[in-house]
Symmetry: C2
Subunit: 399 residues, 2 copies
């Protein structure tokens, strides 16, 4: 118990010391475990002779750059933050916010994060309806996109998120304006008492603040009825680096990532590329070729890194077998000529609509022998496509 | 010369006798040549003992169905039309219309049709600006789509067709309402004196009529300044079978086929599938997920049979190396942070915008050693991204 607490405290401190995806720091944790890694990182114990080699081995670096000390650089990088370390204060802050620090040995830890390998976060800070647990990978769909979304993008997002929640999925997004907010909002609105967690917001800043400020009410609702989580500790500002790294968490937590709208350059594309890198399916929503907000999704479709998705059913297909509703996509509507052979098709087209004609005339018009015309008329009649009256044979319409 | 005339006359007659893609008829031509094939087809010479076996060999049919005579059935199929054969009249009609019958030995014959193998038409009926010749496969792009197109589809079609003509391509379509008409119209409007043939209409009916009637003016313009062509002889009505077969000609004549708008079921999808079957690239234009007229193009994108294309440049990329304009697609716009390393990115985000700060403060905020902060500030300053004043270091904006 004391040991578990010590690990939790160490991971919380490491999260404050290191930026997300600090590879040397993560290699240090992998080599020594979090408690000793923190001691080395803060200078309270020396690194030991073998450590530099061990880190290079974990990071798969060649000895070529050996003049440069990976660990020495890292220690200098972390040093300015050592004096401000106060993991107990951070743990207390989370408790006050009704949240916790989650570490890999906890039940709440999402196993899917292991796919990030060395890039797995040292800990997660979480608030929200944690008793329900974090939904499993195949129940999570990320919906991401432009902050300055269009009405079109908002409509698609709203329909898609609601449709996914109705099918039992949880909608993950980044809590930003535009597509993200619409996805969270619609997922909350579509939630039923029985649904469990229907939406999770993965933040690029500490959970003690609501960012962006304009989404405060929405983020409060998610913190109450869904889950908000971050890799960075309370008090952390949302920097560009943290946004980019946050995107990898969204991609790793979701079984499928869908980009609804994205400009030619967009953070949502970064999330999509993380997802593709993890081997997770990526969906992209098509839109007008004249909309700058669809240029990025079309780019994903064009370069083959995403599948075209137009509704929740198609997203659920990408997500795989979790869908239990048996809902189907676009229904095939049978046309008159479906299932007809070539001869019957020729005959059908040869049949006049108003005035009936003779078998011989039909044979000449359709280019068929009279024998085939007779047999074909029988088949068409049985399908209610041809009928005979005083004037001869003519077209009938299916009832 | 007399021999060439005899072949032309025979092919013209065969085109009237047989529907497009009449496999037994085409095998007969392959086995005996057009002149003798016509004699057999009309009963003026007997089929000979070996012919049935030869046809089966050409058609790769097993002897299993040998009780049924392929040729016997075909002869009965053709018989009702024999008495109306008048190839000289059809040749004269074409001459009167300023057109001709084109056969495979003619210079005008598009070599690309050979990719249809046995399905290559026995002849083509052509009208228009024939002295310019039929553009080569890699200069032809087919643009097809819904007859009941939306304003959106019409706009995309117009922009795309004009852009392709400006790049030196010829736009092929089917002369129908909607996307087809828009493609032809825009290609004619974009034509310059020097451009050669900029549009070709492939018809499902005889060239003695303009079908549909509402496109008469447009089709007259194409017949004057472009090319209209058909596989069926003058006087032939546009039946469903002929439309479907016409689609294979569009696909075979074009180096790329683009579907702009198509419903879930649409003739344009048939053209796309013909193109894919011939190994020709297919492009599909994305649109609103709420538009029934884009359901078919999204279906193509989703099942992987088409590449997402949003403008003429992207179509030209699909078409390959013919594009000589050097026009490029969407330009990359460089952002402030492009090309920065991770440390410089962290530093850039740590720089305050208004009030300058010290190196030590920057080191703590960015999580970098002071040495790296100094070096990084130098790099950012040289890119005009950082500047120093009395209060310390702060962010600058690129000029």
């Amino acid at each position: 118990m004391a040991e578990a607490l010590e690990e939790r405290r160490a991971r919380a401190a490491l999260a404050r010391l290191m930026e997300p995806s600090d590879w040397v720091g993560l290699a240090l944790v992998a080599a020594l475990g979090p408690v000793d890694a923190l001691r080395v990182a803060t200078g309270s114990i020396g690194p030991g002779r073998e450590l530099e080699g061990e880190l290079r081995r974990v990071l798969d670096r060649q000895a070529g750059g050996a003049q440069q000390s990976l660990l020495g650089d890292a220690l200098q990088r972390w040093a300015p933050r050592v004096k401000d370390l106060a993991p107990e204060r951070d743990l207390a802050t989370m408790e006050r916010l009704g949240g916790r620090v989650v570490i890999p040995s906890d039940d709440l830890w999402p196993p899917a994060l292991a796919d990030l390998e060395l890039g797995e976060p040292v800990c997660l800070w979480m608030r929200g309806d944690l008793d329900q647990g974090v939904p499993a990978l195949n129940r999570n769909v990320a919906i991401v996109g432009s902050r300055d979304s269009t009405n079109y993008g908002n409509s698609v997002t709203g329909d898609m998120a609601a449709g996914l929640v109705h099918r039992g999925y949880c909608v993950i997004s980044g809590g930003a304006y535009g597509i993200d907010a619409q996805a969270h909002r619609s997922a909350l609105a579509a939630a039923d008492e029985a649904d469990g967690v229907t939406t999770m917001a993965v933040m690029a800043c500490g959970l003690d603040r609501y960012y962006p400020a304009g989404n405060e009410d929405l983020l409060r609702s998610i913190a109450a009825r869904g889950i908000i989580l971050a890799e960075v500790p309370p008090g952390s500002a949302p920097t560009r680096w943290r946004f980019l790294q946050r995107n990898r968490l969204i991609a790793a937590l979701a079984g499928v990532t869908v980009v609804v709208e994205a400009r030619w350059r967009s953070g949502a594309l970064n999330t999509a590329h993380h997802a593709a890198g993890l081997g997770r399916p990526v969906g992209a929503v098509p839109g007008s070729v004249y909309s700058a907000n669809s240029a990025g999704t079309h780019r994903l479709l064009r370069d083959g890194s995403a599948t075209c998705v137009t509704d929740a059913t198609e997203v659920a297909e990408l997500a795989g077998p979790f869908d239990a509703t048996g809902a189907t996509g676009q229904q095939e509507v049978l046309a008159d000529h479906d299932g007809l052979g070539v001869e019957d098709l020729l005959l059908l087209d040869a049949l006049p609509i108003r005035q009936g004609v003779s078998i011989d005339k039909l044979a000449a018009v359709a280019g068929l022998p009279a024998r085939s015309v007779l047999a074909g008329l029988g088949r068409l009649e049985s399908r209610c496509l041809a009928r005979q009256d005083g004037s001869g044979w003519r077209r009938a319409r299916r009832p």
